[in-house]
């Protein structure tokens, strides 16, 4: 069917010039010659069947993607709550000092800050711009990323200046019997 249509095109379309080297009929030629036409018009031509095939495959890919997303979120839920990790003793951390730790895994640096006697704050220590470690500046109440002069609010983790646009993920804390525990991440704030 397609073969015939192609041969017809060659005869009637003034933009198609291809003559096989043996000067025979186009429908007598090997398949590769029809698959790789020399004329740009024929090269750019997309048969309805091919178009439909790609349409079907693309929709199928979208469907698979949707299922993948659903599975991912299910797995995330199944993985359960963030771990509770002991960071250290409250008495070891004087007011106006910070200590780094790792949460939730050993490869995620985090920062524990004791702003005053009653305020304990913990953030992921990776700047939301390019993951440089941030440093606390107690005088101005900010967290400073020296890589590109990014600043975050120490109280909330919101970006104040520089390239970062997203807040530092805040880690929720719990103090029990003089020990500080990291218990999870605060929900993303708008």
């Amino acid at each position: 069917m397609i073969k015939k249509a192609f041969a017809m095109d060659i005869q009637h379309d003034p933009e198609l010039h291809t003559v096989p080297p043996d000067r025979g009929a186009m429908d007598q030629q090997p398949k590769w010659r029809r698959d790789f036409p020399i004329d740009a018009v024929q090269d750019a031509y997309v048969a309805r069947r091919d178009f439909t095939k790609y349409l079907g495959l693309t929709s199928l890919a979208f469907v698979v993607g949707q299922f993948w997303i659903a599975l991912q979120s299910r797995w995330r839920r199944a993985r359960g709550r963030a771990p509770i990790v002991a960071i250290g003793k409250l008495v070891d951390l004087p007011v106006g000092e910070a200590v780094s730790f790792h949460y939730p895994t050993e490869s995620d640096p985090a920062l524990l800050i004791r702003q005053d006697e009653t305020t304990l704050l913990a953030y992921s220590n990776q700047c939301t711009h390019l993951q440089c470690p941030v440093l606390p500046e107690f005088d101005s109440g900010r967290l400073h990323c020296p890589c590109h002069r990014g600043y975050f609010d120490m109280q909330t983790g919101r970006p104040l200046a520089g390239p970062p646009r997203r807040a530092l993920p805040r880690i929720t804390l719990k103090v029990q019997d003089g020990t500080i525990y990291a218990t999870g991440f605060e929900k993303e704030r708008a």
């Binding site: 010039h17 291809t18 003559v19 080297p21 790789f36 020399i38 004329d39 090269d43």
Partner: protein, 212 residues
């Protein structure tokens, strides 16, 4: 308006290289000259031949391209290899019976004469034809060439051994020769059997010496 064709008349070429320079000025050639100015037999004669792409109906360059990179547009002009496809394998350079494609090693791209596509597609002459002082390269209508060259006739069928090629570009051949095709390989065979044509060449050489 009548359709314009490209006519090449090697007899009229004076070897001034204007076409070579003009070719590199064309916008579609990226500053590279795509025309070849060849000496027929440099030791014997100063005769030169301009070689542009003949734009075959069955382009050997495209036939041998393993990357499907050489395409011909609707008006029958075989274009430079497509950059995203060309793998710079040199197959086309070796295969073209006219020796037209050039490999641009820096670009990793085969570039060839595209008849100044930006110009001829809007009815202007190719750069080489606009500058040729002797009209060895002529871009015009059929009537024009009949009037201008009463002793020549355009020919566009070429034979390379068993391969026959019909081209979009015409070569002017003597009208009274009455040939049906240009047998390109004949000259090679004539050298081998040292027959009449060789003696003609020798006569030419003598004539040249006398003239000098």
């Amino acid at each position: 308006m009548d359709a314009k064709h490209f006519f090449i008349d090697p007899n009229r070429c004076i070897g001034c290289k204007s076409c070579v320079e003009a070719c590199s000025e064309c916008d579609t050639h990226k500053g590279h000259s795509m025309i070849h100015l060849e000496y027929v037999d440099r030791a014997a004669s100063p005769q030169t031949v301009p070689v542009v792409c003949m734009h075959c109906d069955t382009p050997t360059c495209a036939e041998v391209c393993p990357a499907d990179a050489i395409k011909r547009t609707g008006d029958g002009v075989v274009q430079t290899a497509r950059k995203p496809r060309c793998i710079a394998c040199n197959n086309c350079v070796l295969a073209c019976p006219f020796g037209v494609p050039k490999m641009n090693v820096g670009f990793e791209l085969m570039m060839k004469c595209d008849m100044c596509y930006d110009r001829t597609s809007v009815g202007k002459s190719p750069m080489c034809a606009t500058v040729c002082p002797s009209r060895a390269l002529h871009f015009g209508t059929w009537e024009e060439i009949e009037r201008l060259r009463p002793r020549s006739t355009p020919q566009n069928v070429f034979r390379f051994g068993r391969q026959e090629v019909r081209t979009k570009v015409y070569m002017m051949v003597p009208r009274d020769a009455g040939v049906e095709y240009v047998d390109v390989a004949a000259a090679l065979n004539a050298d081998d059997d040292s027959s009449a044509s060789t003696s003609v060449a020798q006569e030419d050489l003598m004539l040249l010496n006398i003239l000098q």
